[in-house]
């Protein structure tokens, strides 16, 4: 940043004087710790001064909102034009139960929907599969066929509300159901908007819902990107996600580095496999980050993310369209920062994390409910979490000005530091031959395992503190009500599924599954065939079994 010679000299003089004072003081009164560091273990200095940002060029490195490098946001008016989307991740039990919760959230001022599926759905199994034992409807909603999906979407205006679906290996199937539902409701595909997570690389790295090996998994993703570009222009066909990488125990830098390197991998695959121009599809790529408890580190991480992606798009992929350079992202507060002990404290943690996401310029936010360490959120807990966002937006004034922390010695310095560390990782993975190779070598997995173990050890030694866990532990119990999903939900779901199997046209199902099989074998786009299959009431697992048959199954190598 530009400072006149005079200013520089006087600030240096002052700083040196202060440093001497510090030395005198800490000899008498030592500081509380020898080393001050973020939750990611990045060391933080005692004070940041103009010296720390003297190399920054305002025009090139910071700039204004809506201008390269988009550090300060993509939109020229920031939140003054429009708040971030209040998008609460939600799904429980049956499609009907979830539809009821969604309607409650929309009534209370939520502005976008976000779907949590149960584990069998996430992994591509039907509710009556032996693998689904005990899991149906537990961690989200169970969807087996288009009929369930239509119940889920009942009364939801598909041309007005955007819906995000956290679905990965079977993303083609669930998205096909959404497209089919739009068709049935008479809404053209060109009018629907939403997001499928559809990011398989981070599954191998962190979240562990996988089905087929990395190579064909990426092929299916490129199919969706191609189909979306041509037919569903307002759909975000991928949400390249760092959230789960962070929850698995990574540092802030690793979260950003692995996510962005995953993004590079997808862009390269679409260009290579589909022969598409980067500017045709890059504007619909979206991202998803974690907002952890270390306030400033998270703000800097999100700011750095935008600048790094803009540079990658401009310099590595030669994108021309500014929208290709925009890193648009959803944020969720950190589930792993919440504690089962003294659970009401989780409201405070989530508030601080939500604030960091907003100051980092998120476009969309989920704030965790205080009971999410135990179970799916109760209606009351979800309402408090939604109100947290509304209070941030409407009461605190933080949305009045755009990127309010820009120019802070500390913020800009830490933003730069994070960016530099992210580039190091990106170059390292480039040198390995890309992310798929890095994953096959177990590189990101082991880096995360290392960080997770390090944090746990610091916690055990009291070097890192979690209130109520290793400090301020209390005997006072204030139990909270917990939501329980009845086993009956699973039985009813299986009954519905069998009923569909009896009623549908078995021949049509078989033919449409054959079409998917042929597309897989020939390398054609599977999406049109998936839409046909779900309309014929093929089940989720029947379609996924075709993928498993043609592409093979991936098994967790069990790295630790």
């Amino acid at each position: 940043m530009y400072f006149s010679k005079e200013m520089q000299d006087s600030s240096l003089k002052l700083t040196r004087k202060w440093e001497q004072e510090v030395q005198k003081t800490i000899q008498k009164n030592p500081e509380q710790k020898e080393r001050f560091s973020t939750v990611s273990n990045t060391e933080i200095k005692r004070l940041y001064t103009p010296e720390d940002i003297q190399d920054i060029n305002f025009t090139e490195d910071i700039s204004v909102p809506g201008e390269f490098p988009y550090l300060r946001g993509n939109q020229v008016t920031g939140y003054r034009g429009r708040y971030w989307t209040f998008r609460m991740f939600s799904g429980m039990g049956s499609a009907y139960d979830t539809n009821q919760r969604w309607k409650m959230l929309l009534r209370e001022g939520q502005t976008g929907l976000s779907t949590a599926f149960d584990f069998p759905t996430l992994m591509g199994y039907d509710s009556d599969s032996p693998k689904a034992l005990g899991e149906v409807g537990k961690c989200g909603v169970a969807i087996d066929t288009l009929e369930d999906f239509l119940v889920l979407m009942d009364g939801i205006p598909l041309d007005e509300v955007t819906t995000s679906m956290t679905i990965n290996p079977p993303a083609t199937v669930l998205w096909a159901m959404y497209c089919a539902a739009a068709d049935i409701k008479g809404v053209p595909l060109s009018k629907i908007g939403g997001t499928i997570q559809n990011d398989m690389l981070k599954e191998f790295i962190a979240q562990k819902t996988f089905m087929c090996p990395p190579e064909p998994s990426v092929k299916l993703i490129s199919d969706t990107i191609e189909f979306g570009t041509k037919h569903v222009p307002y759909w975000n066909t991928i949400s390249i996600s760092g959230y789960h990488i962070r929850e698995a125990g990574s540092t802030a830098v690793q979260e950003l580095a692995f996510t962005i390197r995953d993004g590079i991998e997808y862009v390269e695959d679409v260009i290579r496999r589909k022969k598409m121009n980067v500017d045709d599809f890059a504007p619909r790529l979206s991202f998803f980050f974690n907002a952890h408890i270390d306030f400033f580190e998270e703000i800097c991480k999100l700011r750095a993310a935008r600048r790094i992606w803009a540079k990658i798009m401009r310099d590595r992929f030669k994108a021309k369209n500014p929208r290709s350079m925009w890193l648009r992202f959803h944020t969720q507060t950190a589930g792993c920062s919440l504690t089962a002990q003294q659970p009401y404290n989780n409201v405070i943690r989530t508030t601080v994390e939500g604030l960091a996401a907003v100051l980092g310029g998120t476009q969309s936010l989920h704030t965790n409910s205080l009971d999410e360490v135990f179970c799916l959120p109760s209606e009351h807990a979800a309402e408090i979490a939604l109100r947290t966002q509304q209070i941030l937006a409407e009461e605190t004034g933080v949305a009045n000005t755009i990127d309010p922390l820009a120019g802070s010695y500390f913020i800009e310095s830490l933003t730069n530091e994070i960016e530099a560390a992210v580039w190091d990782y990106i170059h390292k993975i480039d040198a390995m031959g890309g992310m798929i190779t890095a994953i096959e070598k177990g590189f990101p997995q082991m880096e995360i395992a290392e960080s997770a173990y390090k944090f746990q050890s610091q916690l055990e030694k009291g070097e890192k503190i979690m209130v109520g866990v290793n400090k301020y532990v209390s005997e006072n119990q204030h139990p909270i009500p917990l939501v329980e999903i009845e086993e009956e939900v699973g039985k009813e779901q299986i009954r519905r599924l069998n009923d569909v199997r009896r009623r549908r046209d078995g021949k049509a199902v078989k033919t449409s599954l054959d079409h998917i099989r042929n597309a897989c074998k020939k390398g054609d786009n599977v999406m049109p065939h998936c839409i046909e299959a779900v309309k014929n009431l093929a089940t989720l697992q029947e379609i996924c079994d075709v993928y498993r048959e043609i592409y093979g199954e991936y098994r967790d190598p069990g790295l630790y």
Partner: protein, 133 residues
């Protein structure tokens, strides 16, 4: 005679992918001097019981955060007993509501560790309660 080392299996039954805790424990057991087998995610109770016998472990630690523990944990104990390996102790951990403890103990789960349990306390429990066979 040198004492045989503890052989411990850390296992993830069901479809749950939350493996941060399981992997940290695997490392912690290794650092505590145990021999460790980690199964990775998505194991059926049958797979876990068979590998536990094959690997000749003294203890199986099951981790589940998805709410499927009542269906999955007792099944592992049952299968071990069926296969004549009822001497392999089974413990469990994860997001497990206190109200489920009695039925898990009745089914033969020896101990349950929930969020906040320190790594040291888990290692200490094993050293006190399990004898390498």
């Amino acid at each position: 005679m040198q004492e045989r080392k503890f052989r411990v299996m850390v296992a993830k039954p069901g479809l749950d992918g939350h493996d941060r805790g399981a992997r940290i424990l695997a490392r912690c057991f290794r650092d505590a001097g145990f021999e460790v087998v980690y199964t990775g995610c998505h194991q059926t109770p049958e797979q876990i019981a068979s590998s536990a016998i094959q690997e000749d472990v003294d203890l199986v630690g099951l981790s589940c955060l998805s709410g499927a523990h009542l269906a999955l944990f007792p099944k592992v104990v049952e299968l071990l007993r069926e296969k004549g390996a009822g001497d392999i102790a089974v413990i469990g951990g994860g997001i497990i509501p206190e109200q489920d403890f009695p039925s898990l103990y009745d089914a033969g789960i020896k101990a349950i560790f929930t969020p906040g349990a320190s790594l040291d306390s888990i290692v200490a429990w094993i050293k006190t309660n399990i004898k390498p066979h």
